[in-house]
């Protein structure tokens, strides 16, 4: 009960703080919107024998979702840690009953809500602006655990970045540097066939790969029926590891 009270207090404060930073709210949702508009509606997919965006529009749904699932937690949690450190908030929190794990869980909850809403927005825009269709079935509900586990994973990753970077600028630079290659080299926007053979094993090392493959199995008709539970399990395992590592990485003072 006390744990729930502490997490609620931290999450409520984080939620209100986010909502009142208008530019943060605007660009959190504008970023995926403009991505779908540019690539889905303006560039559009050109099914040919090769090249970028050569697959049907629905193939790229995991990639569009990955933009918010990956970038938002990395930059938000990392920046929040840098801000907390600059303002001596962790020193204060270290003398309260709130644990570092509870702090990360609270901020992960806030990110889950934000990214959940952004994901719905992306799905709606993809359906509205492109000729993509999503097979409707009960299994589509499994999108929720995929998004939630990916958010947990990358919130933990963001906490690690926040620990390692010594400023908000450093967090943003580091998160962009890490997220950009992950976004494109995780079976999202670039198919495995487009990559050199020797690179394929590296794709398996990216946590985002398991998110992309699982989501594609749920949202892309040609991939429907492909097993997704394995991807969900890997994602869940990685999420647990990153949550623990991220919580451990959250600084106290020094």
């Amino acid at each position: 009960m006390s744990r729930g009270r502490r997490i609620r207090a931290e999450a409520t404060a984080a939620w209100h703080s986010f909502l009142r930073r208008k530019t943060a709210v605007f660009f959190t949702f504008f970023f995926p919107v403009i991505l779908v508009v540019i690539f889905g509606a303006l560039v559009r997919t050109q099914p040919t024998d090769g090249g970028l965006f050569a697959e049907p529009a629905a193939y790229y749904i995991p990639g569009y979702l990955a933009t918010v699932v990956l970038f938002t937690p990395l930059s938000r949690v990392g920046s929040e840690i840098a801000r907390h450190r600059d303002d001596n908030r962790f020193e204060k929190l270290a003398t309260t009953p709130l644990t570092r794990t509870e702090w990360l869980v609270a901020h992960t909850l806030v990110n889950t809500v934000i990214i959940g809403l952004a994901s719905l927005l992306i799905l709606g825009l993809v359906l509205l602006l492109t000729d993509a269709t999503i097979p409707i079935s009960a299994e589509l509900a499994m999108l929720v655990p995929f998004v939630v586990l990916a958010v947990i994973l990358f919130c933990g990753f963001g906490a690690l970045l926040g620990r390692l970077a010594d400023s908000q600028d450093g967090v943003i630079a580091a998160s962009n540097t890490i997220a950009l290659p992950l976004l494109f080299l995780s079976d999202t926007f670039i198919t495995l066939e487009q990559l050199p053979g020797w690179f394929t094993p590296l794709v398996e090392l990216s946590p985002l790969t398991y998110f992309a493959r699982g989501v594609r199995a749920l949202t892309y008709a040609p991939a429907a029926g492909e097993p997704y539970l394995g991807n969900l399990l890997v994602l869940g395992g990685l999420a647990a590891v990153f949550l623990v590592a991220g919580a451990y990485a959250i600084p106290r003072t020094d």
Binding site: S2, R5, R6, R8, A9, E10, T12, A13, A14, H16, S17, R20, R21, D87, N88, R89, E91, K92, L93, A94, T95, T96, P97, L98, R252, T253, D254
Partner: protein, 320 residues
């Protein structure tokens, strides 16, 4: 009396910079302990050590436990340079920090205590610097702690706000709360503290009640007489048995008790010396601080013009 905080040979270094050099300290239950010292003396590091937020060498116990193992519901902390989330209202911030504890005081009562009942619904970032600091103090009081650490609690607060905060801290102390505070306001520390520790270069160079420290290190009471004929007046007073020192425009007479003020005035009248002002003062904690830290007003720091490079006036020049 129970010792709530005990520190034994506490040392801390940041790379080659030594912050604390074997500090021994104890704070009794219900005591208000003031830490003073120059910037960089180690006050904040010592507070962090006592609250378990930085690892140190040596032994520390708080309520008999390691600082990191203490029941945090019993501790309140206001860190130095602390800023809570800026776009929450004062009320939301008190609610937020209160929500982190098993039990918390009523938010409105905390806001009233720190004098922010009228600004409760303003965002933190829109409050004045003093109001912001008062919110921060409120976050340290929200769990009604048994032991309160306040690192420069009144920085930026106006005199009226400072006095009301002093009254609040005095009432907490009267109710049995143990308080460890740091401050650069000697008046604040002298008024609030049962005992004072002076840190310099990471060492606790003096500990005692304000009265004892002043008696031991504060020097004597003094009478400052403003007069244009300071050298002549100083000579008359010296001949009258007073320890007088002349400087341009004034004489300082050390060791004058209140009953001796009239005698000094009589000496001046008898010598036909007029004066513009008389100011008598007792030594304060500030004198102790200046004496023990070796810090004092450095005349060489005042701007001088190239046209007037002469040193301070000699006694012979003082009357001219």
């Amino acid at each position: 009396m129970n010792e709530v905080v005990v520190a034994d040979a506490v040392a801390k270094s940041y790379g080659e910079t030594v912050a604390l050099r074997g500090v021994d300290l104890s704070v009794a239950e219900g005591e208000v302990f003031g830490l003073i010292g120059p910037n960089g003396a180690g006050k904040t590091t010592l507070i962090r050590a006592l609250t378990g937020t930085t690892p140190v060498d040596g032994d520390i116990s708080v309520f008999g436990d390691d600082p990191t193992a203490v029941d945090s519901d019993r501790i309140g902390l206001l860190p130095q340079s602390f800023s809570p989330p800026a776009r929450l209202t004062a009320r939301e911030l008190i609610d937020y920090y209160g929500g982190l504890y098993e039990t918390a005081r009523e938010t409105d009562a905390v806001l009233a205590d720190v004098g922010l009942a009228d600004a409760a619904d303003s965002w933190y970032e829109t409050l004045s610097g003093g109001q912001q600091r008062r919110v921060c103090v409120g976050t340290a009081l929200v769990n009604d702690p048994d032991l309160l650490f306040l690192d420069e609690p009144t920085t930026g607060i106006d005199p009226a706000g400072r006095r009301s905060l002093w009254e609040l801290l005095e009432s907490l102390a009267a109710d049995g709360t143990t308080v460890v505070l740091t401050s650069h306001s000697m008046a604040e520390v002298q008024r609030l503290s049962d005992r004072v520790g002076l840190l310099q270069d990471g060492q606790l160079v003096a500990v005692g009640t304000p009265t004892d420290l002043i008696t031991d290190h504060g020097g004597s009471s003094r009478l400052v007489i403003g007069t244009e004929t300071s050298k002549t007046a100083a000579t008359a007073l010296t001949e009258g048995g007073f320890a007088a020192t002349a400087s341009p425009g004034e004489i300082v007479v050390d060791g004058v008790s209140p009953v001796e003020i009239g005698q000094a005035v009589d000496v001046l009248s008898a010598a036909g010396i007029s004066y513009e002002s008389l100011e008598w003062s007792e030594p304060t904690l500030e004198d102790v601080y200046l004496e023990l830290t070796g810090e004092s007003f450095d005349a060489s720091m005042t701007p001088s013009t190239p046209a007037d490079p002469s040193p301070a006036a000699t006694p012979q020049e003082a009357d001219q």
